[in-house]
Amino acid sequence: MNASADIQTHLPLTEVTYFILLSLTPGPRHGYAIMKDVRSLSKGRVVLSTGTLYGALKRLLEGGWILRSDEAQPNGKKRERKTYLLTELGRHILGAELERLDSLVSAAQLRVANNAP
């Protein structure tokens, strides 16, 4: 099985996974920032509890889609807070999901446009 076909087996993503990956696209974030960003990205529709968030993060870590690291302080010191960042695999999977969603929307748009009065 080639890499692309392998990625397809993970699709479609659940809404929670999709928003978490999307939230990590610009760069690493800590748990609370992800929680707030998911709420904002989904326009308040997806509000994660800590249990749901960390359950999802655990599975993403296990799958190698994200990495966990200590948040670096400006003065170089490390503190307890952990941050999460997207791996190449995670980025590819999110890209594949975006393509899939795009093709769905395109098909719908085409059909709606053809049937427009």
């Binding site: 929680m35 509890s49 800590t50 249990g51 749901t52 960390y54 359950g55 993060l57 307890e80």
Partner: protein, 333 residues
Amino acid sequence: MNIGLRLLATLYAVLLRAYQSTFRSQFGDEMQQVFNEALEEAARQGWRHTLLVFWREVHDLPANLARESRDWPVSTEGEYFQDSFNSPLADQLPGSWRSALLAGAPHLLYALGLFLPAMTAEFANPLVYWLADSRAFWLLVFAALLLAWKRHWPRWSHSWLGYALVFILHQVNALFPAGPLALLILVAWLALIVITLLWLARRDWLGGLLAALPITPMWVWWVSLEGARGGAAENILYISIGLLVALAVIAIVRVGRWQTAVWLILAVILAAGLPLSYNASFFNNQPVSYRQEPEGWNLVLGVVGNYAAMLVFTAPLWLLALWRQVRQWKAPI
């Protein structure tokens, strides 16, 4: 943080205890930190928002726990994690002697606890006997399950889990001994057994098999216990069957191969099922001296009925074994 927020944070810490220890050790501190941050931000918007943050955690907890325990790979020794059904080699791992003995122990203990006293005393009411005199055994079962939970459900714990499932039925059965509700409960319990076994077997086929084992002999034993107690020979027979099941379980866990387990269990069911079914087909609600030798159709129905019950309980296991075998046949070389 004011007192109200501190109280909610403390309650949240208690909720966190419900998660498995490894999940908690990996994410617990971070989850508490994130919850505290969410609480403090919500508090700035008013107490309604604060309560909503806490309520969301409570609301999501059952689903999250179920998801975590479903994702929880079964371990054979407490340290080895696996998802056996999706890995062709995972349930081919031999267990240690300790694990094997722990898995076999409840079968022998149950038989000894139930039938050894019966050899020395007469019990007029087996239901009272069951509930009162087996209390120590059931306490042991639940202590074992507590230990198993702490150790992430090692394979040996499935034997004890099987006994717990039967215990639940008997407790409910004692509360509703007859009538349509009793029948409804029995059907619901059967469904629960099938679903639980299917779920367990998908995680770890051998574990599912170990959980199914207590159900079959106990079902038959219970039927046999509905009336007067048998003589010494009968009790020795029951204890021997307990020993036989225990030895089979020890061998299954030690060998750790599902194919071996299938043959061993079929042999045990045949060896134990015939005398048990024969005995269960006596007219049991009478003292020993009034019992009648089963004949003709009574005997056939008694034996076939008991085997049919065994088949129903263990059907998910056989279907999964068959499915796996077919997959192996179809797999490319």
